[in-house]
Symmetry: C2
C-alpha cells in the first residue's frame, strides 16, 4: 500500500509552542517536509533561497497570484507571503507529509481549495497556561502579552472549524501524538483509492 503524503495545516496561538513541537517531530520521525513559502521581502543574513523562503520579486509574486500558483497568500507590512502549490504537490507526490504552519484565515482558505488538507489546531492545556508561557519568556512587556492574549482570543473563534485539536502540555509527548494523528491520515479511504480498486479488480479476476 503506497500512498501520497497528507497536507497538514498547523495553526496555534503565539506562545503555544508550535516550533518546539515541530522540532521534536522532525528530529524523531522521517517522512515529513516543511512547506517553503514564497515572499517578496529581502532575505535576512543566513537565509537561503529555497530553504527558508523562495525569494521572488513583486512582479513574479503577482504573476503567481494571477496564474493560481499559490495555495494561499497574504500581505504583511507591505510584503507578500504565500504558499507555492507546485512545491507542496511535489513533496506530497514523493510521499512526504507536508506541514504548513499558518494562521486561521489562511488555513480555512486552504481547506476550501484543497478539501483533503487536514487542519490541526494546537492549543495550550488552558488559557492560564498560555498567559504563563508568554509571561515566562520574560522578554515581553505586559502590554505585548495582553496584545498577544487578545490576538489569541480573536483566533480562537475559528478553532471549531478545524479537523483536529492537539493539546501541547509537553512538547515531546505532543510531537508523538501529532505523529500518530498525521500517520493515521494515510489510512483514509480517499488516499487509497488505487489500492481499493486493485483489490476490487483482483477479487473479480479470482472469482471468474
Amino acid at each position: 500500500m503506497k500512498t501520497k503524503g497528507s497536507l497538514i495545516v498547523l495553526s496555534g496561538f503565539a506562545g503555544v509552542g508550535k516550533g518546539t513541537v515541530l522540532k521534536s517531530l522532525f528530529e524523531t520521525h522521517e517522512g515529513y517536509a516543511y512547506s517553503v513559502s514564497a515572499t517578496t521581502r529581502d532575505p535576512r543574513p543566513g537565509e537561503v533561497d529555497g530553504v527558508h523562503y523562495f525569494f521572488v520579486s513583486r512582479e513574479r509574486f503577482e504573476q503567481m497570484i494571477e496564474n493560481d500558483e499559490l495555495l494561499e497568500h497574504a500581505c504583511y507590512v507591505g510584503n507578500y507571503y504565500g504558499t507555492p502549490k507546485a512545491y507542496v504537490d511535489r513533496k506530497l507526490e514523493e510521499g512526504f507529509d507536508v506541514i504548513l504552519e499558518i494562521e486561521v484565515q489562511g488555513a480555512l482558505n486552504i481547506k476550501k481549495k484543497v478539501p483533503e488538507a487536514i487542519l490541526i489546531y494546537m492549543l495550550p492545556p488552558s488559557a492560564e497556561t498560555l498567559k504563563q508561557r508568554l509571561t515566562g519568556r520574560g522578554t515581553e512587556t505586559e502590554e505585548v502579552i495582553l496584545k498577544r492574549m487578545k490576538r489569541a482570543c480573536e483566533e480562537a473563534v475559528g478553532v471549531e472549524n478545524y479537523d483536529y485539536i492537539i493539546v501541547n502540555d509537553n512538547a515531546d509527548e505532543c510531537a508523538q501524538e501529532l505523529n500518530g494523528l498525521i500517520r493515521a491520515q494515510r489510512l483514509r479511504a480517499k488516499s487509497n483509492i488505487s489500492f481499493i480498486r486493485k483489490i476490487q479488480k483482483d477479487l473479480k479476476d479470482l472469482t471468474k
Copy 2:
C-alpha cells in the same frame, strides 16, 4: 481534556481476520467496549444475555424498531438482529470507544444516522492473500470458498465510502495501527467542543 468515546464501525470480508485483530486490540488496550446486539433468536449454550446478545422477543424487537431504539437492524434466516442505541450511547458517554462489527450496508446506514461514526474497513494485503487464508483454514469446500470470494467481491464495492481502510498483514501490528487510528479520533475538534469553548471563554476573561 475529557472526551466522549468514538463510535467505530468495523467491517471486512469473511476471512480477513477481524476477530483475531479485535482480540489482540482488546487484550493490549483498555477503554474499548464491544457493541452488544439485540436478537430474536434463541440463546445458544453458554451465551449470556447482555454479554453476547440482548435476547428479546419478536414483539419487543418490533417495538424497538417502531420507537427508533436501534442504530440499524437486519433480518437473517427469519430472526432479527440489531444495534440498541441506548447501550452504545451509554458506553460512549462513559468514555469508551465502542466497536461495532457489521457489514457494508448496515455500516453505511449507521453513518447516515450518526454522521460522527467512524467507518473502518479491514482489507487483506491482496485478493490472493484472502483466497489463501480461506483455503488455508482447510475447513471449507472449494465451493464455499468461491462463494465467500464472490461475496467479498460484492462487498468490496462499498469500501470507498468508508472513512478509513486498514490492512491486516499481521494481526498484532494491525491491532496497534487500529488503536492509533481510533485514538486519533479523540482529537477531532467536533469531539472537543466543550474544551474549545472553555478556552475561548477563559481567554476572554483573562483579557478583560
